[in-house]
Structures are given as C-alpha cells and as structure tokens.
C-alpha cells in the first residue's frame, strides 16, 4: 500500500510536469493547427533561466523558489512570443508543412545554440528550495515533489481561469474555433496568437524549473525526451483540447512511473507508448478530442 501511494505521488509529479508542457502544444495547435516542435526547447530554456536566477538568489528559500519560477515563466513567455513573431508569422497562410519543418529547424537551432552557449556538459541545478523529506508511515515525500504538484495544480487552475473566464481567453477559444468569424467580431488574431504563445511558453518555463528541481541536472538537450512525452500526452488527450492535455499527461506520467517500479522497468517507454497506441486505436481523436467539423 505504501509503495502504491509512493508511486502514485511520483506519477502525479511526473504527470504534472508533462501536463505543463503538453498544454502549450495543445493551445498552439488549437489556434494555428500546427505542432510547435520548438516548444520542448522553450522548456529547456526555462530550466536554464531558473539555473541562472537560482544561482544569484539566496538558496533554500521558498521566496527565491518563486522568484526563480517567475523569472523562467516571464523569460519563456517573451521567447515564445518572439519565436512566433519572427519565425512562424511570416509563414502563416502558407502550407502547414513549411511551418512544421521550420518548427523542427527552430527546435534544433535552440538546442545547438544552447550547446554553443552553455556547453553540452550537464550542470547541477541549484537547490533553491529547502530540501526537506517528510516521512509518514514509510511514505517518503520530498518537499520538491510537493512543490511540483502544488505549483503545477495552481498554474493549471490559473490557466483554466485565463482561458474560460477572461475576454482574451474567450477570444482565444473563438479563434481556435473559427479564425474568420473571430476577425469579423473585431478580434486581432495576431494578438491572440501572441497571447497563446506567451501563455503556453510560460507554462513550459515553469515546467522546466519544476523538472530541474526533481531531476537536478540540466543540459541543452534535456527538453527532447520530456517534450516528446508531453507531445504524446497532448495527442492522447485530443490535441487542441486543454483539459485533454492535462488528462493525457497524468495518464502518461502514471503509466510510466508504475511500470518503472515494476520488473518491466527496462521497457517503460515501450509500454507507455503501447498504451498510447492502444488508446488511439479505439479513440483516434484522443480521449477528449472530437474531430473538428470542417470549416468553410
């Protein structure tokens, strides 16, 4: 039982991080119908911003923890907005394949610029949060894990409010549904797209810091695997669907953790992806996704 709870907790924190990344994939897909492959590298940049901010702030303090998180989120929001503005926007209206290839190029650009600037050697992430272990009846809970889960949950609630309760959030849903109709009510879709990139990238930045707290070794290629998993989670939930991305991420995080804790651990990724393929066979549009009706 204890072991089960332990794994549940581990799965939850891993899933929460996947969710933070997956939300950005799914939101951008929602408004632009393309996969922003550079998103996983924005996550990596978030971890590096956290690294440099964390070095300059007093360690082992909750306040520095939040300052680090805020710096990574703000930095990544700006980066995401810039990438869209400079790289993707000029290609808008052209074939989707062009943008997809460009996104892959952007991803490689960030990864190898990262290696050029930060070097390829992994760096230890500073311990910004007081490292405390809480032990209840043999259940070992690290402070980091609690923070990851709580912060991720709070961010998802904030996102929910931003998307469903604000005017710009409603505009974002309107653009995702029908960009032409959105323009006809006076929505400037450029502004909404920037907002979407900013929001998604800020969440990825937060994900980068939280990930680095749990796996405190960072390098410029660290985004590749979690990014792929988060992308899979977004597809699993139904790409373009916001609650779906969170759900898909939790399922993936849980599956991976439980398999990791079993004797099948060597095959954890293979099994996790087999689960994915299995679900998609039965629900091709993802768990919560629906085929969008064709737009005119």
């Amino acid at each position: 039982m204890t072991e089960f709870l332990q794994q549940l907790l581990n799965g939850l924190s891993l899933g929460a991080i996947y969710a933070l990344i997956a939300l950005g994939y799914t939101m951008v897909y929602g408004v632009l119908r393309f996969i922003n492959f550079a998103h996983s590298d924005v996550f990596m940049v978030g971890a590096f911003i956290g690294y440099f901010a964390g070095q300059r702030l007093p360690h082992d303090s909750v306040l520095s923890g939040f300052a680090t998180l805020a710096a990574a989120m703000a930095g990544c929001a700006v980066l995401g907005i810039l990438i869209e503005r400079v790289v993707y926007r000029p290609l808008r209206g052209g074939p989707t394949l062009n943008v997809l290839i460009t996104a892959i190029g952007m991803s490689l650009f960030l990864e190898y610029t990262g290696q050029l600037v930060f070097g390829a050697t992994p760096r230890p992430f500073p311990s910004i949060i007081p490292a405390r272990i809480i032990s209840i009846h043999g259940l070992v809970i690290s402070m980091n894990q609690v923070i990851v889960i709580v912060v991720a949950a709070l961010l998802m609630v904030a996102l929910e409010l931003a998307v469903y309760r604000t005017k710009i959030g409603t505009a974002m849903r309107a653009v995702a549904l029908n960009p032409k109709a959105a323009q006809l009510v006076g929505i400037n879709i450029d502004v909404v797209i920037s907002f979407t990139f900013g929001l998604g990238s800020a969440l990825a930045g937060a994900g980068g810091v939280l990930y680095a707290l749990n796996y405190p070794s960072i390098d410029p290629l660290m985004g590749v695997v979690p990014g792929l998993k988060a992308f899979v989670a977004a597809v699993l939930g139904g790409v373009g669907n916001i609650p779906g991305a969170a759900l898909g991420a939790l399922i993936l995080g849980m599956t991976e953790t439980f398999i990791d804790g079993s004797r099948w651990s060597t095959y954890k990724d293979a099994i996790a992806f087999a689960v994915l393929i299995g679900i998609l066979l039965f629900r091709p549009a993802g768990l919560l996704g629906r085929y969008a009706t064709e737009k005119v």
Binding site: T170, L177, A181, A182, L184, V185, G186
Partner: protein
C-alpha cells in the same frame, strides 16, 4: 456608406469576381441576388477584408479600406453576418454575444446593445447559458445577427440569412432585418437566394451572374422585370 468599384477577385486560377461595382447609401437596404456561385459571398468577404482583391477598391464611410485588416474594418463600423452563420459553436450564447462586443469598452453601451438584441430576439435571452452549437438553425441565425449587432455596426452585411432555416422563421428574420434598419438606422446589404423576399424589403437591388453585375435598379422595378421573373422569381 459603401462604395465598391470594379472589384476583381480570384481563387487561384478561378476568377470569382470580374469587375463588380455597387453602392449602399446611408440608411438604405440594398440587396444582392443571383444564383449559386455567382460571387455574392465573395463580394461580401472582399468588402470585410477576408479576401483581398486583385484589382478594384472598397470605400467605406468615405475612406479606402481595400487593404485594411479585417478587425480594423469592423472597428470602423462594419458588421458581417457570414454565410453559414459561423457562430462560435462551443461557446455559450452569452459568450458569443460578449465576443460580438469585443471592441466596445463602455460597459453601459454593451448592456444597451444586449437589451436591444434581447428585444428583437427574446429567444436568445432564454438560452444564454446554452452552448451555441445546440441551438436550432433559426436560433443560430438570430445569434449570428445578434452577435453582429453587439458591435454597434453602422452598416450590416447579411449573407443568406434564410439559408437552412425553418420556413416559418424566415419571415420573422426578415421582419427583424427591417426593424434593425428602421430603429437603428443601420444600412444593410442583403445577399439572398430568395429573390422575391429580398426585393420586397429592399429599395435597390443588384443581380449577379458569374462574377458580373448583370442587372441593377430600384427593387420595385426589378420585381416586374420579365427577364428576372423567368430566372429568379419563379415565373
């Protein structure tokens, strides 16, 4: 109000508009009729900026808007109820109306517009919390018109508001169009396949065929035009 001169629009190699000119005066109801594929929808979309013309100009309220972005044209007072309604189907009725007033900052003005919309379409008020996609065709059309009215347009373009609507609702929608024009002084450009109805409520009409305006004139005169009678007015 609106002055379209010599518009040319094409979709790739297909020429959709080959030199369209038309005018809508302040406070008028003008109709654009013609068969399927004549280019009516393309004309409206080019006026609101959703398509860019290869040639020709669109002037609105005395200014050239041919190359102005859609949202800025809307900000100048143009409302467009598009073909197929294009309501935001997974938003609630309430959210659809709120989006209609996207550019308005003044809360009191938004509240006034809502009251006006509920006055002409009381059914929308009953369905505020409902997801727009679950409305009937007629209700969706009301919502599409209501959404456009929320933005306080000076000029409203309606693309086949009778399409896909229960026959008994069609006359209601047309009465409301007259009411909107009369009460709010909103000039209207109405695209219709139902030429009889359109000629009845409008003062001036243009007839389109394959990208050209073939006939134009005062609506009451066109109602008696033998050529039109044969082609569009059911004998």
């Amino acid at each position: 109000m609106l002055e379209v001169s010599n518009l040319f629009v094409s979709y790739g190699a297909i020429a959709a508009l080959r030199g369209i000119s038309l005018r809508v005066e302040k406070g008028a109801i003008v109709t654009l009729i013609g068969g399927n594929g004549a280019g009516k929808t393309t004309t409206l979309r080019t006026v609101s900026g959703l398509h860019r013309p290869l040639g020709g100009t669109v002037r609105f309220l005395g200014e050239d808007i041919t190359h102005v972005p859609v949202h800025k044209i809307v900000a100048r007072g143009l409302g467009h109820v598009p073909e197929g309604r294009m309501i935001f189907s997974n938003l609630t009725v309430d959210e659809n109306l709120a989006m209609g007033a996207y550019l308005l900052k003044d809360k009191a003005a938004i509240a006034r517009n809502r009251d006006y919309v509920f006055g002409i379409f009381p059914r929308l008020k009953e369905r505020l919390r409902q997801t727009a996609g679950t409305l009937s065709g007629g209700e969706q059309q009301m919502l599409a018109i209501g959404r456009a009215l929320m933005g306080d347009p000076k000029f409203l373009m309606l693309d086949e508001p009778s399409l896909g609507i229960a026959p008994r609702l069609i006359s209601t929608i047309f009465e409301k169009i007259i009411e909107i024009n009369r009460d709010r002084g909103i000039a209207i450009l109405l695209v219709e396949q139902n030429a009889n109805l359109a000629l009845e409520i409008s003062s001036y009409a243009y007839v389109m065929e394959t990208g050209h305006v073939t006939v134009e004139g005062r609506s009451e005169e066109l109602r008696d035009n033998p050529q039109l009678k044969a082609a569009y007015l059911g004998g």
